[in-house]
């Protein structure tokens, strides 16, 4: 185990790398995400000793071993519960939850629901490769219908869950999306997630080269990206396209989005929807967009902060007249005295 001693000088991305050899398949999207996290941490001046990476089980979940911070590789699907305990014991810590589509949405869906609804101050990064990588390629709850896998040789028949739609339904107050290969974008999204107090949910489309290669090519390939990706920005019109002239608007009178081209058929810039991070309904519509008919929405789709769980818990405890620490707290003797009455034997 490396002993990293603190320097007062700024930490560089590489300073967040542990001495452990990274063991993902060559070409795995996880490498890019790891790189982005190193960069984001360095940029926001994170302290290794105050940072904790918590994960469940899966390829994605190996993440903590590659960090020079504190790390807890827990069990399958339970990282949010353990991270909640860490924050409740020490709210000062900066806690990240790294999870996969199976870890976070299959076995771990319930903890994900509750950590989001409680709004515990965590950064939750879900590596969505639409497959179970570590166990060699079975389909996952995010796999599209018809996915052929060792457990579904004739193709899966169940309908996939949308990670972001689920998060919004669970009451998440920060929902964002990025892609493993979009380095600067991903770093930016991670920084926004970190800045948000409360549970920040980030879905990263991640390519599993071995068991689900190219699953996201439809919108992640460089060529055509301009037409298949919608980069949302608060207060800016929802526009995309190589020609920078296509956008989204509400179908007149209907609660549906449609793609329009500015300066065509009398459509003007003012007809386009302007992105409002704080509007949950808009967020729900945006995350439901799918190619080919629509571009895929990326960036901070929803951000609507409220006091975080652990903060509220301690506010209440202080209000109850607690001393800062258990040791400093009122004497036990007082507690042991009974409200139902005591008696003395001499």
């Amino acid at each position: 185990m490396t002993v990293t001693t603190i320097t007062d000088t700024e930490l560089q991305p590489k300073d967040f790398a542990s001495d452990q050899e990274v063991r993902w398949c060559p070409g795995c999207g996880d490498y890019a995400i790891l790189k982005a996290v190193y960069k984001a941490l360095a940029e926001l001046g994170a302290r290794r000793e105050r940072t904790v990476f918590v994960s469940g089980i899966g390829c994605a979940a190996r993440f903590p071993y590659y960090m020079s911070t504190y790390g807890f590789h827990t069990i399958h699907g339970r990282a949010p519960a353990i991270a909640t305990g860490i924050k409740l014991a020490n709210p000062e810590l900066d806690v990240w939850v790294m999870t996969g589509d199976g870890d976070g949405l299959s076995i771990g869906g319930n903890h994900m629901l509750h950590v989001l609804r409680r709004n515990v101050d965590l950064q939750i990064v879900l590596f969505n490769n639409e497959i179970y990588g570590l166990t060699k390629g079975q389909y996952s709850p995010t796999s599209r219908r018809g996915t052929k896998s060792p457990s579904t040789p004739r193709g899966s028949v169940d309908y996939p869950v949308s990670a972001c739609a689920f998060a919004l339904g669970a009451g998440a107050r920060f929902v964002a999306r990025s892609v493993d290969t979009l380095q600067p974008h991903l770093v930016g999204v991670l920084r926004r997630a970190h800045a948000h107090r409360g549970a920040s949910f980030v879905e990263v489309f991640q390519n599993c080269v071995v068991f689900n290669d190219g699953a996201f090519d439809a919108f992640t390939l460089r060529e055509g990206a301009a037409d298949t990706q919608l980069h949302v920005e608060h207060g800016k019109p929802l526009m995309f396209g190589a020609g920078k002239n296509r956008g989204l608007r509400l179908k007149p009178g209907k609660l549906e989005l449609e793609v329009v081209t500015v300066d065509e058929a009398g459509v003007t810039l003012d007809d386009l929807l302007v992105h409002d991070e704080t509007n949950r309904a808009l967020a729900a519509l945006l995350v439901s967009l799918e190619p080919p008919a629509f571009p895929v929405a990326l960036g901070v789709i929803y951000c609507n902060p409220a006091p975080s769980f652990e903060a509220e818990v301690y506010t209440q405890i202080q209000a109850a007249g607690a001393a800062r620490t258990g040791q400093g707290a009122p004497d036990l003797a007082e507690l042991l005295r009974s409200d139902e009455g005591t008696w003395t034997v001499s």
């Binding site: 000793e49 339970r78 305990g85 014991a89 020490n90 810590l93 903890h111 005591t342 003395t344 001499s346």
Partner: protein, 603 residues
């Protein structure tokens, strides 16, 4: 022994509680046991709705809620229906005739009125219209009929206090203070109490005289109170946290009968350094406790059978990552949902063996309500000193049972300060203390000790992931040795009562303490050479236990399960221990154990 029984709404628990205090004040030793209706609130007047409170007291230490009831106070027909079976032949039965209406009789399922059909001939029956007497007594205070009716329990209490020559002052003060904001209610209750007492004094009652008065029991000097097993457990955990010098306890639980009480009790104690967290399920609850332990707090979770089952995988993680954790299991009757409100001791196998792989941890059990305090402190001590999860076994009976307790002076409580690792030199997370074999506790936030832990096997010398065969064998041996080593850090097993060596060792654990103790005492009075050995440490066993048991001709193991401790003892020491099993969701009766002792004595 007295039992107050009535409808859930009749305030029997309060009545019993007050009688308990007055009795304790009178210097009697006692134990009490409340018997609530099953989980769902049942319609008033039905047998499912009956709530009872029982007090067993006497001159010298009383440890069981007793076998047979001497006096039964039945506030309605349903209560009579349910509780009569426990009244000893010739026992006294006090009934509120005012509540024996057609409707109530029907609800209780009485074809005919038992007060009329002579079916109670074998008991001394006191038919009193408590309802009417109470309403009269409280008329002056102009309460609503509902509120007036509610004073019936105080009338009954007054009568009982008179019967046993008890005082009323403390109760009167308590009533005044309790209803401070509604003086008329307070006054009415006091009036009812006095009326009941006065009624006792009147001629008609003389034959019951004060013959019931009981000699004082000799007790150690000090300030006393009554305490339930749940309260004692909660405070013991806090005292443990203090003893370990820790800043905080995270208590994470998910409601389940009968464990919820502990969550409720601790939820009120946030001022003392405990943070309570109601999780979405038992898995998340123990998960949060493990996270807290990792972060430098003492993690505690509490549940009952079905919830314990759900914690199995997380216990494995706590064992693999060697984090300090206390898991309280208030055992109830199973399998599966079973009988949620009934007590059983059937989770011992699960505690000791119930995990995948070789996954040892420490297992303790509390014997009495007051013992819960010490066992809880001990659990925290072992968890933090050995960096291990500790399972503390309680049960549905201990959770509710209450006893008088000498309040300890906080300064006399043990201290076992934790030392967090801070020195980076030579650090790795599985570097072990040579004597305890515990790994260092280095919570996040400590500069220079950044490290990663997890459920995969780790290298003994570096703490990194390792799939090396010999290393896994070494780590498995070490995990086992660490827990086994606890045996050197706990008291040798002593004999609670009786000779050593001897003819018969009656070996128990947990809440059967009182019944076994009484049974062994009576057996010895009968001249039977029996001794009582009661285990607090179920894994590891005290290191002298094997030799101790081998010094007896026979070993009898009474348990509220199908025979679990007896199995563990036979495997560990090859002693031909015999099982005395009871699985009725109820505590042992002294007589049941006494019979078995007599039987076992016979060659």
């Amino acid at each position: 022994m007295i039992r107050f029984a009535g409808d859930s709404g009749d305030g029997m628990q309060v009545t019993g509680g007050r009688f308990t205090i007055e009795t304790a004040l009178a210097g009697n030793d006692l134990t009490t046991f409340p018997d609530y209706p099953a989980e769902i609130r049942a319609p008033a007047g039905t047998t499912f709705g009956v709530s009872a409170f029982q007090i067993h007291f006497g001159a010298v230490d009383v440890m069981t809620p007793g076998d047979e009831v001497d006096v039964l106070v039945a506030m309605n027909p349903a209560a009579l229906k349910v509780d009569l079976r426990d009244l000893r032949l010739g026992g006294t039965l006090v009934v509120d005739t005012g509540a024996f209406t057609e409707r109530n009789l029907a609800k209780a399922g009485f074809p005919a009125n038992p007060l009329a059909d002579g079916s109670l001939a074998r008991y001394q029956v006191l038919k009193l219209d408590i309802t009417k007497l109470t309403l009269e007594a409280v008329k002056p205070f102009g309460l609503t009929t509902r509120d007036a009716h509610r004073c019936r329990n105080m009338w009954a209490l007054g009568l009982m206090l008179w019967m046993y020559g008890r005082e009323r002052e403390v109760t009167i003060d308590w009533l005044k203070q309790k209803f401070a904001r509604r003086p008329e209610i307070a006054e009415a209750n006091v009036a009812a109490l006095n009326a009941g007492h006065a009624f006792g004094e009147t001629a008609e009652m003389s034959e019951y005289g004060s013959g019931y008065t009981v000699r004082r029991a000799p007790v150690t000097p000090g300030v006393y109170r009554t305490v339930s097993g749940t309260e004692a457990l909660a405070w013991g955990l806090l005292a443990g946290m203090r003893g370990a010098g820790l800043e905080r306890m995270l208590f994470a639980g998910y409601p389940i009968t009968p464990a919820s009480l502990l969550l409720h009790t601790l939820a009120d104690l946030s001022r003392y350094g405990v943070t309570t967290f109601q999780a979405e399920d038992e898995i998340a609850a123990i998960g949060a406790a493990i996270g807290a332990a990792y972060a430098g707090a003492i993690g505690v979770t509490s549940t009952s059978g079905p919830g314990m089952a759900l914690k199995t995988e997380m216990l494995g993680l706590a064992i693999a990552t060697e984090l300090p954790l206390v898991v309280v299991n208030s055992q109830r009757a199973g399998p599966s949902t079973g009988m949620p409100t009934k007590a059983e001791q059937s989770d011992l196998f699960q505690a000791v063996h119930g995990r995948n792989a070789d996954a040892p941890l420490a297992v303790l059990a509390a014997a009495t309500a007051t013992d819960c305090f010490e066992v809880a402190m001990e659990a925290v001590r072992l968890a933090t000193k050995y960096m291990t999860p500790v399972v503390l076994l309680s049960d549905a009976f201990l959770a509710h049972a209450a006893e008088p307790w000498r309040i300890p002076d906080p300064d006399e409580l043990p201290r076992f300060p934790v030392r967090f690792r801070t020195d980076p030199a030579g650090f790795h997370p599985f570097l072990r203390d040579p004597t305890t074999l515990a790994r260092p506790w280095a919570p996040p936030g400590t500069p220079g000790l950044e490290h990663r832990i997890g459920g995969l096997e780790k290298d003994y010398d570096t703490g990194h992931i390792s799939y090396d065969p010999e290393n896994h064998a070494r780590m498995t041996r070490t995990r086992a040795a660490k827990i086994a080593g606890i045996a050197n850090d706990i008291p040798l097993q002593s004999v609670a009562l009786g000779a050593d060596p001897g003819a018969l060792a009656v070996v128990g654990w947990g809440s059967t303490y009182g019944a076994i103790h009484q049974a062994v005492r009576r057996a010895r009075e009968e001249g039977v050479d029996a001794s009582h050995v009661h285990l607090r440490y179920l894994n590891p066993f005290p290191r002298n236990l094997g030799d101790l048991l081998k010094r007896f001709d026979r070993v009898l193991v009474p348990e509220l399960n199908a025979g679990q401790l007896v199995h563990l003892l036979r495997a560990a020491y090859l002693v031909p221990a015999e099982s005395l099993s009871k699985v009725e969701g109820k505590p042992f009766k002294v007589s049941e154990i006494l019979e078995a002792i007599r039987g076992a004595r016979a060659p």
